[in-house]
Subunit: 236 residues, 2 copies
DNA sequence: CACCTTAGAATGTATAGACATATGGCGCAA
DNA sequence: TTGCGCCATATGTCTATACATTCTAAGGTG
């Protein structure tokens, strides 16, 4: 694969940074120098540097120059898999059981629920995910009927609500909180495990431009599940 | 904040996609149409579309057109904070205590360690992170001396090795595995918590282009710490 | 010496045009 | 009808230029 010129400039600088030849806070050659080095126009150099800036590898300061950014271990890509897909990929048979389906108002005094409901009702959906028949995770989900009226008529017996939402509802923002908690009595009963077992708790909220769509708490059996996040500097 | 023209084109299309107006696999207007719409040159349109392609929101096919990418619900940005910074941000006093510092060979039969060592020795660094004097996390780290000879001379009494590495060693790839485990006897003793307490286990390995640099296991007190991952349409 | 002004340097944005290259459909020929 | 080749289409890359914006440093002034 022959790289285009701006790609070559970009990868040259990228490897200089990643190999340590260019250290954080170092100043890069200015655009005119790179024009000389590569015998090309400024737009070509600019495209390479802009791409590096967009990727966070360098910082560009108008009037001042371009500088190597501080290493940014601070963000990685977290795969948040659709459970049926993930379980199947590991070679197990996925199962889902809907435990509770209830239309109700937000709990009074519960600010979270009231924000989600937006004055209207909520659909509460509790379910159990399993792999090869063994419990894997308990899920407690609330969906805003104001935001997703169509879900009232959806068939959620076989398909988990997360999968249904993923396919039917576009969203713009989401936040996931990951922690470890001991299983309380009910979680323990559903997961068929002793009370106090370490569970991976994944709490996720989803918005469509400031309108709240859904909030979910998933309790994973700690020993049976894990999340993976990656960081790779080069794009695939 | 007034957006430049190419930014406006980009955000316009971005919101059309995220709001669902443009569905996955839909074809975008071709560059010449966008030139008409925005009364600008092709380079400007191209810059906007290239940025969207780099972000994975659209796919561009030479000769065919530009198309909305498949939904990317499966990946979010995970913040993997530098602990001292994160603890300080929450308004606590951060502390670090080095418990074990040992130069040793890879454990025979332990494939992980042998890969990391690359035939040379490893530096084992165990430590305890605390917030306001209370234990927060136990860390067990191995560093490849083949990859990072300089760390043999580093002062790691006060500064955690993760922070030192972040500042001194560039890396290209990292993988983080997140799970929940019960505290074993030693972890429990160090964290001053009962055996079996739910802990958030973060395991991370780091490479510099296929050369392994370091592997670390961090056991966080489940109730005292959590990770946050975000997905947002707009970049910060 | 401290402060202000100013010129130059460096990046940000945009234009108009040129040629390259992959794609897909249409028409022609076997 | 089928298969092949050609061409219009659309993106990929690059050039040369222009002007705007912001930062830095030099130099002059009180």
């Amino acid at each position: 694969m022959t790289l285009s010129l701006h790609e070559r400039i970009r990868t040259d600088i990228e490897s200089a940074i990643l190999s340590g030849k260019l250290a954080p806070e170092d100043r890069l050659p200015v655009e005119h120098e790179l024009m000389q080095t590569y015998q090309c126009s400024r737009m070509t150099v600019n495209k390479a540097l802009s791409a590096l800036a967009a990727a966070g590898l360098i910082e560009r300061r108008k009037g001042a120059g371009s500088f190597v950014g501080r290493p940014h271990a601070h963000s990685m890509i977290l795969d948040v898999p659709d459970l049926p897909v993930e379980v199947a990929k590991r070679g197990h048979v996925y199962g889902y059981q809907l435990l509770v389906r209830r239309l109700r108002a937000a709990a009074r005094g519960n600010a979270e629920e009231e924000l989600l409901a937006g004055g209207r009702r909520l659909l509460q959906l509790d379910g159990l995910h399993s792999a090869d028949g063994a419990p894997l995770a308990v899920e407690r989900r609330l969906v805003s009927l104001a935001a997703v009226p169509a879900i009232a008529d959806a068939d959620l017996e076989k398909e988990p609500p997360g999968t249904w939402l993923l396919r039917h509802v576009p969203w713009t923002e989401a936040e996931t909180r990951i922690s470890a908690v001991p299983a309380d009595a009910e979680i323990a009963r559903l997961l068929k495990t002793p009370v106090g077992t370490a569970c991976l708790l994944v709490e996720r909220q989803t918005w469509r431009s400031s309108e709240r769509i859904t909030a979910v708490r998933q309790y994973f059996l700690g020993t049976a599940y894990h999340l993976v996040a990656r960081f790779g500097s080069s794009r695939p």
